[in-house]
Amino acid sequence: MNPGTLVSPDLELILYATAMGLITIGLAGLVLSRHLFRMVLALAIAEAGANLMLVLAGYRWDAVAPILMSLGQPPRMVDPVPQAMVLTAIVIGVGVQALAISMLIRIRQRYGTLERGEVAERMDAEIATTAGIPRDVSQEGPLGERPLPPIPGSTAQTRGGDA
């Protein structure tokens, strides 16, 4: 809508730029990080950006929260709909992040690493072993089976046992 009623258009611009910046940082982090935990953090940053954007969609600088209506007759109030929506979005985001972290713990227990490439390699190896097919190695890769490094630490004993 028309933002002409805002007191400070500069501030609004800065906030919008921040929101877009957070989303960009988050997405760039997702592409660039090699560690799964960092990817989850990058996702959290991107979500924060999207949430900020959503709050900004309904905010007005010259208005009060719609819950304060009884304190007299304010001329304007902030659009409550985006605030309700952003609460929902935050709750969903936190839930998903918690789930992601618990997955990471399980992966760490099974594979002993959270490096993206190593996890993907171990996953491919496990799927191939379960299916009973030779592992899908790149045509350009070196010939012969390349063994996966052993799982470090004490997790090696628990690996097969509780599956």
Partner: protein, 491 residues
Amino acid sequence: MSGMIVLPIVLPLLGAFLLPVLMRASLGLGLWIGPAILVYGCWILGSQWYGGATLPFSLAIGGFAPPLGINLYVDQLALLFAFATQLLGLLFWPFKLDAETPRRQALMLLLVAASTGLALSGDLFNLYVFYELVAVATFGLVAASATGAAYAATIRYLILSGIGSVLTLLGITLIYNQAGTLNLAHLAQLAPERLDNSLGLSAFLAILIGVGVKAELFPVNTWVPEVYATAGSRLSAFLAGLVSKLAMLIILRLLVLVFHQPEAIQVMLVLGILGVVSGELAAWRAKDMRRMLAFSSIGQLGMIFIALAIPDGGGLLAVLALALHHLVIKSGLFMLADGWGGSLERLRGAAKASPLAAALFVLFSLSLIGMPPLPGFWAKFTLITELAAQNSPLYLIGLTVFLLSTVVEAAYLFRVAALLYRPADAETRPEQLPRPGGLALTTASLFGAGLLAATLFVTPLGDLLIHVSGQSGNAALYIDTVSPGIPGGSR
């Protein structure tokens, strides 16, 4: 009673939260609750279809009329997919009994509730919430396999899905910024003046990519092969068969009602073509059954995206036919993969161990390729005629890719069929040959029977689909039915 329509969403949701508690009190009773809820849901939706109410209708939730309140929009399309959700939820019910049963069944109920909500809701943000609910339930169910590979596949799916939800939220924000409403009918009224610009286009593209994660759209579908290879076959069947179609349904509604820019459908066409090419070629190269089916499902959904990209709702009939056809076929094939999972080489001579399963595989393959009397032929034929009627060269490329992909499909499916009927190695005894379990085979036979029934009654079925697609493509009818009060709609 049109108000009954909320029950197929509310009851599974309620059941999902009560089930773990109930099962602790009495396991025997708890085991019956989930299926009972789903049967009741099927019955309600079926009775709505057969004269329970005049379709389409809109139901305001909580007594607030749209656009202030959230509404459910019930037309034949929504009802069809809601019914399919409950029915498939029942067919793919996780019967397995172990320590995780209460949690798995609760998550399945949650998945069914959210999927039904996706089919019925008429509000964009409400759709987003149900979409996230589907995602969370799916993560839990995939991870329930409790192998390292399942966890790794889940986290890959979770991260992609997270990117999708950020983009969807961004798109929703842009739309709200422009139009000040998220009710689909209200948006349809405001779209020509508020959203027919570059911001509207970017909003659509953000939502397309965001929702496309579940719909297995080309660049965001890298989760598909691993998840389908590690999750249980029944869950894979539900995800590939139904959930992907529900994501498609959101995009269909947005295209029919809100976004009419030619650029929007061109992007979708290109992504669809790329999906067909990448999916089918990868399926051709795949060496194990489940990943072959997963890649083939990417290709099939690419075809549906191509159909969706035909302008002015011309492709809706093809979309519907392809989607329902793929729903039946892929569910059946994944059920067969329950016993035939793993390397394709293992299947040598498997027809001897289970002739019925092999016959079903051949039947599904023929229909997927598009052999004339089977329904798959009519679905593909509709798309081909629609594509050939377009002038733009891009659509002709789509047509070419579509026809070539049929050849590739035939190559990889017949290769498996040939393996099935080849004599087994001399040293393998017949008992060692892989065969689908009794429950899986029964379910697959049901889908096979459905396919044959559709072949016999193809004319009335076609008329029905034409009616359904006509109704869903009618934006004016949607607006009139919901009639969101304020015409012009200022905030």
